[in-house]
Symmetry: C2
Subunit: 207 residues, 2 copies
DNA sequence: TTGCTTTTGTGAAAAATATTGCAGTAATAA
DNA sequence: TTATTACTGCAATATTTTTCACAAAAGCAA
């Protein structure tokens, strides 16, 4: 395996699942886990787990397995989930509010530090100690707070407009919860929260 | 291509994306689309789009492309998104409430017809015309309303317990929004709403 | 009609991802 | 010390998914 190789997306996704399990194990005081243990728990093949760790350049020890703390440390580092990154949310409707309140994100590398909405009724109010700001302040807030990640929970009609603003403000990544496929320059990372796609798999498989 | 072949999951996911685009096209009065148009819009290869339609057994016409209405009809049928299925939600916290309010699900084949919570404060209150019920009624509600799909937005500590109840009530599919990997018998379909996995890909790709 | 163009449908090649199998290593027990 | 066991690490193989390439079909224009 070459050194400069990109880590496959399926591997990245699984690494985040391993992390969840590993945190549970650490809470229970478990020091080492084997690839078989992880695989059994997550319904995978142990070989796949080992291959994933190989991609992540994480080493284990024959007969012992992998050190739980080391695994957590390395996966966090790889996913850049060490030291939560400041993020902003645009669109403080019910979904936006729910996401701000979803404390678990803190564990997943992001912390909400700003919120925006264009409803004058909402501006000035707070959600979880975050003041909802007017969009006109977005550029300065992004700069002042060093925000790289934006979570997009606006109505779909304005999704592209807002995206263009975010791009102008040099945001690096957008997590898009709208059903619209937004357009960005190549250097901006976009990830769709694919509710529909998830549901498609679910409903297709029924029966 | 054999007839009894299972449709690959990536294809299912893309089909749901095509649908979104096709609905927009229909609204704009467009009658036919080519695989190239879809591909350009969604940043894919046109061959992939055609292959996907091949899996879905959807035919086009050379020089004309595909009929928008026919595509929508066939994809809806395939994903079983025609005639929304009744679904219930368990755990009416902020995320649960947001999901109930997310009207777009109606387009994606499910309609919330029941909600449950174990907080006595909440029971009897309504969210979007749905009365929050006590969990003791879950079995009869599932039977009476013919519910096959459950959306799980409970705290992670009780996720498995609630899942076991759902399985006993013969639910067919669970859409799991908790970070816990729940265990079910093979015939029950589970789909994780992988917030963490989605974020893993996002944060890894930054820079 | 004929020729030209666009677009489908699909087999086949290529690439990505998953699985298998096993040599080698470290811990443990005898 | 030696044998046994339980692992990893990785190369080889298999499978899945994507990409490519092009013949055939259908519309269109002259």
């Amino acid at each position: 395996m070459k050194n400069d190789e990109q880590i496959p997306e399926p591997t990245l996704r699984r690494l985040s699942s391993y992390l969840l399990y590993l945190l549970q194990m650490r809470d229970r005081g478990i020091i080492t886990v084997s690839s078989t243990m992880i695989a059994t728990e997550l319904y995978l093949e142990s070989g796949k787990v080992r291959k994933d760790f190989q991609y992540a350049k994480i080493k284990g020890r024959p007969k012992r397995g992998y050190d739980v703390n080391h695994l957590i440390f390395e996966i966090d580092k790889l996913l850049k989930w060490d030291g939560p990154k400041p993020a902003l949310i645009i669109g403080v409707g019910s979904l936006g509010t729910a996401l701000i309140g979803y404390g678990t994100f803190l564990r997943y590398g992001i912390r909400f530090v700003a919120a925006f909405d264009n409803d004058p009724e909402k501006i000035g109010h707070t959600v979880q100690d975050i003041v909802i700001e007017n969009l006109v302040h977005i550029k300065s807030t992004i700069q002042n707070k060093g925000i790289e990640i934006a979570v997009l929970t606006v109505p779909e009609e304005v999704a592209q407009n807002i995206t263009d603003i975010l791009v102008k403000c040099k945001i690096k990544a957008i997590w898009n919860f709208t059903p619209v496929r937004i357009k960005v320059p190549p250097k901006v990372v976009v990830e769709h929260a694919r509710f529909a796609q998830s549901l498609a798999v679910l409903t297709y498989k029924i029966d």
